[in-house]
Amino acid sequence: MKEEVVAAENLRKSYETYLRRGLFNRERKVVEALKGVSFRIYRGEVFGLLGPNGAGKTTTVKILSTLLLPDSGVATVLGYDVVKEAVEVRRRIGVSLTVEKGFFWKLTGRENLMYFGMLYGMDGAELKQRVQKMLELVGLEELGSSDKLYEEYSLGMKARLSIARALLTDPELLILDEPTLGLDPPSARLLRELLIKVAHQEGKTVLITTHNMFEAEIMCDRLAIINEGTIVAMDTVEGLKKLVSDEITLEMLVVLPARVSLKQLREEISEVVSSRVEVDPMEEGTRIRVVMRPLEKEQATQEMLRRLHSMGCSVRRIEVKEPTLEDVFIELTGGN
Amino acid sequence: MGLWTLLKSGLVLDIYFFKNNRAQLVSMFAWPYILLALMLGMGFLFGSAETFKSNVGVEADPVVFFVASTLIAMASLSVMWEVGGTVLYHRWIGTLPYVLIAPYRTSITLVMSYIPRYLLWSFMQLSEFVPVLIWREGLVGGLADTLVMGLAIVIGMLPLLGFAAIFGSFLLTIKEETNVLSWLNPIILILSGAFYPAYLFPIWARFLSMLLPTTYTFELARLSSLVGAPKLAEMTFLIAVLLGMSFLYNALSFTLMGKAEKRALKSGAV
């Protein structure tokens, strides 16, 4: 039985904005940021919230972080209600809302962490040790930047410090809003590996929002795609891909021995897979194109390779084409 | 064509600013009156117009004297902040690189884009004092005073633009926190005799005040407050000094700004 860490049920939130009309008039406009969002996140899971700008990701994150009250709906974190038991929730979460601010410019990274640690109620040797450990964990110590002023930090260093602060109290749930936005590849990779490690080795639960498909694919155990305030799909990466296309295309380039005809080849392959098979002679060999169901993929590919081998064919190239997460995203959000 | 678009850019930016920030517009009109009211209110609370005349050593109307002083102080501050301090402002909001890559010399960009703003707001502030001037001097006298002050606003601006750009070039090369303008501005105003005539200073301070273009602008504007004194000869002299200083300070700022820009680009201070 998986332990539920986050449970959101039918969350709704609207904002009022005013549009300027001429010199003295303004028009009131209500924007529905969330239109009934529900999901669950389980212990040790990295859960991604994927969506275009203005889809409602940050609103969701802020509600779960107790920073925003929903208009209706219920959300709990580790069994505590984010509205009624905000103090308890805050004791158990680590949050990073933005990587480029949220620290005092004229304090060093270490001093910033000491300050926020004290606000959490930590003090003395315990706090110093924990701060040191976090600075080492995120690599700021290695970079020699722990005692540099925050205003001298690069974006990558700021992001590392932000994660260090989120982890400072050893929280059970990490909530991170676009934690790698704008980072260079080494910093982004370090943070990704760190987050996967804390989730899978230390059993922490991580909720991240991101735009980055690659990141979502390699980090998240499960993903929810949110668009215009509604969750349009939620599953594992594989599961989401199946929503867009139920088929996988396998392309192979083989060189046939003289005794094997194209017809023979087509018949042999057709016996392995249930769907369409195309065989086309090309300049550098023969191209075989097979469209199959995802479930068939492994077994059918092995069988095809065995048969090709027994016919004396040599395989030059093999390529599997399946829908990407980006295809899924575009399809589900209507290219928004 | 190029300079015209620069002038226009300054005006458009300003109109947008005030359109979206009407409180600033109201405060711009309110400040001169508040300053004047406080100065005169406190002055009359602790002393009298007679003491004022005896202290300044000339037959002057204290109200017109302080209207002229307030107006020129406001205009000078505006030039110093908007031309000199604009470099800091652009650096704070992150627009400095985009200003520097404009296809003109930086001093030209800073000065030209500011001129319409200066003229617009200074003349608006002058116009709000016209009723006071007419009240003190009658219709003809009041309008004549307005004319003298308007002249001081225009002629006084010319050397001050170069003078402020020199500070701008200096600020381009130093750290943000060292905002010297915050204390340099009141020093310049004190030494120029903004509210306390420079001719009453000790000699060393009088010497420094002679180097500042604002000293002559204050004197020119305050000629309007003199009762029954001949003004034309003195006015011509002050205008000649201001025009000479315009040439000097603008030429200097043109050279210094170029150097400062190069230095800033080299050191990465942009």
């Binding site: 920073l67 009250l69 | 009359f44």
Partner: protein, 262 residues
């Protein structure tokens, strides 16, 4: 709770030190602006009244510098605090953002008293008059303490309001500056019926007490001024606390938006 207080004091001490140059700039420029202004006023004053006028002006401006510094350094800091993304970061740690903003009392007090001392020396040097002597030290300490409570309450009220709706910085500046004109009026020049009404205006009563303690005003309304100051301080602090509570609620309902000052 003590750890949080310690953190806030530590933070503001550290920032005061790190932004040292900015604060020195601020103190220096404030003193110079005041000097510029006072020089104009002194043109009206006959030489035989110069000491009294300077003394009154000095202590009035000293009181004003507390009010003004608190308004800009505590209230005005909120905008920067919001921009730095600090409201959320404090709420997340079960700490009211106002705890940290209140900590700026340290900065405000340091800066305003530094202005007072620098201004005292500058005036004494330029005009050759001794201005900083006090006849009743306990009274002046009490008056400044009450003035600080009133100024802090006002600053926190501005701070809280600026998190809920935008506040015009220009109007605040005008208000801050205009207060000098209000504070400088000697009680004795007012008709008797208007004196208590005048003292009831926020800041006026503690400033009157300051002027009495340096011999600048007669102590005819001392008891009334003390009572008004205490009641006013409690009332203003109460209003500030209520505003803070209501704004904290509002933030959770509507989210933190970078409203601040404009």
């Amino acid at each position: 709770m003590w750890v949080k207080v310690k953190a806030v004091i530590w933070l503001h001490t550290l920032r005061l030190w790190r932004y040292g140059m900015s604060f020195i700039n601020m103190i220096l420029s404030q003193v110079l602006w005041i000097l510029l202004f006072i020089m104009g006023v002194l043109l009206f004053v006959p030489p035989e009244h110069l000491t009294v006028a300077l003394r009154m002006a000095y202590w009035t401006i000293a009181a004003w510098s507390v009010i003004s510094s608190f308004s800009s350094l505590v209230g005005g800091w909120t905008s920067f605090f919001i921009l730095m993304g600090m409201v959320e970061e404090h709420l997340l740690r079960n700490t009211s953002p106002f705890t940290t903003i209140i900590g700026r009392v340290l900065t405000g007090t340091t800066v305003s008293f530094a202005i007072m001392i620098a201004m005292g020396y500058a005036f004494s040097w330029i005009f050759g008059r001794v201005l900083m002597t006090v006849e009743r030290p306990p009274l002046i300490l009490m008056a400044f303490a009450l003035l600080i409570v009133e100024s802090l309450s006002y600053a926190l009220s501005i701070s809280a309001t600026s998190m809920r709706t935008s506040i015009s910085e220009q109007f605040l500046e005008i208000l801050n500056f205009g207060i000098i004109g209000l504070l400088i009026i000697p009680v004795s020049v007012l008709p008797e019926y208007a004196r208590l009404i005048y003292l009831a205006i926020p800041y006026v009563a503690p400033t009157y007490m300051i002027k009495v303690s340096v011999g600048g005003e007669s102590p005819i309304l001392m008891r009334e001024a003390a009572l008004i100051s205490v009641i006013e301080s409690i009332l203003m602090a109460f209003i500030a606390l209520r505003l803070i509570r209501s704004v904290e609620e509002h933030i959770r309902r509507k989210g933190v938006r970078a409203v601040g000052f404009w």
